[in-house]
Symmetry: C2
Subunit: 162 residues, 2 copies
DNA sequence: TAATAACCTACTAAAATAGTCGGGTAAATA
DNA sequence: TATTTACCCGACTATTTTAGTAGGTTATTA
């Protein structure tokens, strides 16, 4: 079962995109600032998300990324699947050759678990997440912090100019 | 979320123990032969399983391991928990400090998922697994193969003596 | 044309996994 | 009592994955 920061970062970034989609394309550096994820790492993740047609990109100044579908048509499972190979809990990726060509003793148990996890994450859309209270609260804090840091960096820039 | 061969091996080994518990203590080398898991690796895993009081050990010739409780009182979640630190899907281990001290945007989602997985694995006992058809079939094949390999190694030994 | 931001490839440090190796120690049996 | 069996323990290691860097190219807009 593969569910690490990679998948978590991807979902977090996509949710950030959903939360700020009203302001036109969202740049990766904005996401990087708000979510504390390194820019280059985000680039790698969004390359995969784009290939899976979950986002579309706009180049040049004022560019960034947009969700390719509406919030209620993108599900957490799709995002995790896009960046990890799968959310498979078996070691053999469902091929049933876990014990040197044969099925291992617990193969079916891990298949059941994989289904369970996949079903759970397949039912959660970005739309649902956007409306959760805990998400809204964290998002509000992040917006405030990122405005602050813009203000701070403006002050620093001004100081340098002086 | 940590669920790799480590946890899978542990559950497989414990299930092997449950399947052969009628024949007295089961040695790790038996489990190693039947399940294709390296002996030294099994030793590491069983050290943890013993500390969590899931198995008891019997030393000396004819010794091995026994389940410390009945099959219906040992659950898959307990086994996985014993060898991994947890089946936690969050990156912060539930501490809510995922984004440099603060809660990250998707923290609660991963908490929900962790609960989901834990609930699922907490409901599955070794007793249930022992009675599954797919498990019985694999176990039967493994018993046959391990008898074969004993027979083979006897023949080899006899050939060497000659 | 200067700045911005996506896009792309290759590299790398750190961590975790999945072991190996070499020695113990305790208990049973011959 | 000697030997065997099998648990016990710690240190070491190869491989893989994760997470992140570095350095460039391409497209767009002001």
């Amino acid at each position: 079962m593969r569910l690490t920061t990679k998948g978590r970062y991807a979902v977090t970034a996509m949710l950030d995109l959903a939360l700020h989609s009203d302001q036109g394309p969202v740049s990766l550096s904005d996401i990087s600032n708000r979510q504390g994820i390194s820019l280059s790492y985000l680039e790698q993740l969004f390359s995969k998300l784009r290939k899976r047609l979950l986002v579309t990109s706009v180049r040049g100044p004022g560019g960034g990324y947009r969700l390719s579908r509406s919030n209620d048509d993108i599900f957490v499972a799709q995002i995790v699947d896009a960046v990890n190979e799968s959310v498979d809990a078996t070691g053999c990726k469902g091929r049933s050759d876990c014990q040197s060509g044969n099925t291992c003793l617990t193969h079916h148990l891990w298949c059941d678990l994989s289904d369970q996890i996949h079903d759970f994450l397949s039912q959660i859309s970005l739309e649902q997440l956007v409306h959760r209270n805990d998400v809204r609260q964290v998002a509000e804090r992040q917006n405030f912090e990122s405005r602050q840091s813009c203000f701070d960096s403006d002050k620093i820039r001004a100081a340098i100019v002086d």
